[in-house]
Amino acid sequence: MKIQLQVPVGIQIQAFYVFFLIHTTQVGTGIMGISTHIYSTAKQDAWISILVAGVWMSISVFCMGKILQQYESADLPGIQVDIFGKFVGKFLGTILALYFFGLLISVLLNYIEVIQVFLFPTVPTWLVCLFLLSLVVYAVLGGVRVIVGVSFLFFVGTVWLLIVLYKPISLMEWNHFLPVMGNSYSDIASGAFKTTYSLVGFEVLLFIYPYIQNKRKAHSAAQLAALGTTLLTLAVVVITIGYFSGPQLERLIWPTLSMFKIIQFSFAERFDIIAVGLWMMIVLPNMITAMWLCTHTFKRVYGLRQKQVLYVAAILLFFGTIVFQDRLQINYFTDKLATVGFYIAFVYPIVLWPIVLLKNYIRRKRGTSQ
């Protein structure tokens, strides 16, 4: 397996697309219900938890940038093999690919459940799954250029949803945030931990890096994306906490979507229904990127043909989603996955950076002594 990945100029992308790629990979199903999760521990100080998580994410992105700087044009599967050797490197790569596969299942399940609750209570899971997966496969077949294009265009196509939030903002009750720092540090910390599920996805930087044309700007684009996602999450959580009362918020599963209920225009009422439909365009880039990451990692680690992996993964996903039947199972799976995601995205890069530095230092020393 080659450590460096040389990509022809024709399929390279500009660094500023990294912003959209990372942002759309982060924002997906997590943000629909994030407020309830954080509120359950950090209560009115949830916004502090998000800031903490945001800063931590920024540090992690910084470490990623530093790791990538050590190599000219490598990605994480390559770096792992370089650092830990063939066997351990491949093992870690497999874990990463399986993690992305799990991420796909969790996104699929969560979105399908939302559709079943808001739009069509009777629609079978496998049907929606088939729709989404066929779109995902169709997009991934187009390669990195199409995947990045999807995340860019779908971001532009859905970002206007923020504007309609002016209505709940005008109805916010600022007393809900008082008293500030009314909870213990451990509560806030565990709130920050719970935020991470909706922030994971920025590790895509470690995989897309060889495809970036102007690599020097990639780091700042990634930091910007991290900032953007933090601000978006912050805005959503602040609005939901201000808009809903505490006990009410604890009973809701998707407060972000419920908030859209009061928005109405002269030509459309019940905006939440439109929002849930439109959410498909928020979830799709998420799934498409995850699918690419999963299949690409398998290709890198085992040298398989990505097309074949893609088809097999799609079929497995299709049957994988049927296994899960109720909310509790989905929640359990999502929680476990969030923990894995936390270690992969928030801990692993910070640990990996010193190791990479040490290894390169030793190597350089050996090179000079010889």
Binding site: A139, V146, F152, G157, Q264, I273, M280, M281
Partner: protein
Amino acid sequence: MRRSVQKKKKPSDLFPCTIEELKKQLSTMLQDSPDLNFSTYTLGQKRVIVFYFTYQINKEQLHRSILDTLLASQDKTWDAKMIQNEVPLASSTLHDKLVSVAKELIQGGVGIYVEEDDQPITYYIPEQARRAVSRAENESLVLGPQIAFTESMVTNLNIIRWRLDTPEFKTEKLIIGKEIPTEVRIAYLTNIANEDLINTVRQRLEDLDVNDVMDSNVVAQLIEDRSTSIFPQLLTTELPDRFCNSLINGKVGIMVDKSPTVLITPATLFSFLESTEDIYFRWNIGTFLRIMRLAAMFLSILLTPIYVAALSFHVEVIPSSLLVSLGQSRANVPFPPVFEALLLELLIELLREAGARLPTKVGQTMGIVGGIVLGQAAVKAGFTSNILIIIVALSALASFTAPSYMMGGAIRVIRFPMIVLSGLWGLLGIFLGLSFLIIHLLKVSSLGTPYLSPLYPFHFADLDNSIIRLPWSRANRRPTVNETKKPVKFSQKEAKKKRDIDE
């Protein structure tokens, strides 16, 4: 031994021969055509035969230049070289083989052969039926030049040379079609167009292995990147001003003989939504028109599906005030909304198709009968609701705003699967279809250029002249997507120079 002797008796070895022999061989080769005219003259010591297709040549030139010269003195003895020297026509060719003589005759040549001479000589004096240059019918404009291309390549080249009188304008001649050859020209400005693009176009055309091409639209379908797509990937136009404007901006044109439209490549989705009229209008009106057309495209694809989805599944989305009038107008309709919408869309499509096929005089009546009478009757009979008629008419109108007939057709066809999707799965179906469309558009390319450019890959400077239009003083760049040799048209500095009061 015998076979090799027979093989040697090929038409190439016909000459020198007698006049009778030539006549016989030529007639057999040209399927004994009754229009093949032979006239024999005895001049000096030798007989001379002049032969041609009566309808393929210019009779006046034949009489004035060829026959007058030949018959001027009765006792001169001619041979091919002498004829070439004395006949006042430029396009003479000497032939060794009878096949090439026959080919020349078909294309509009006159053959002359002096008995027992080595080579027959032909003059190319064709007369082609061609229509006069007329107004553009299909891409009609209010402002700007009204002239349109015709079927004749010579006339078209003449018009383009008139507009682009610069030595940098270059055309490359290619012959396509193994059985029926057709002349195809690649046209571009050598100092502007990108070399790689020209090479791609040339490569694609040279690689074509077809028997014949009927029209430029067929050539477009033969060389495009993704033949499974519903979207046209090369721009066809009948307007010389549009063609020349594209060339000046670094695009490459393909002209096909016998076709009244030319091709422009690379084409993006937005180039199908722009009309040259946007350029002739003031920039602010041009911008408005372009954005309106873009909105019309979305409207045309989404409006009827939204109606169907809202009425079939998401009644709660409809505001209560609107719900009353919708309910009243739909009270008599026995069909589900999908069926109702498909019926009416089909009606409109039939009207359009009938209008396009009928002679113009009847076509107008059809429009009125279909549009007003049928629509009114359909509502009265309880077939459809009033509101749906408005929606369907609106989306049909919107689809006609696309300046490219080809793109209009694509938009209209996309509507049907979208209606079916919305009828089956409501909003979910609509967003499914829309997502698929966007992903599909991302995958399409026109001779290697991304179809959605300048939206993706995003080029801020290219938004001018694709989605919006800037004032001329600011529009100093050629589209970067064309990768031209001269990306800047004029210096921005000078155009922007600010003058003080009363200076």
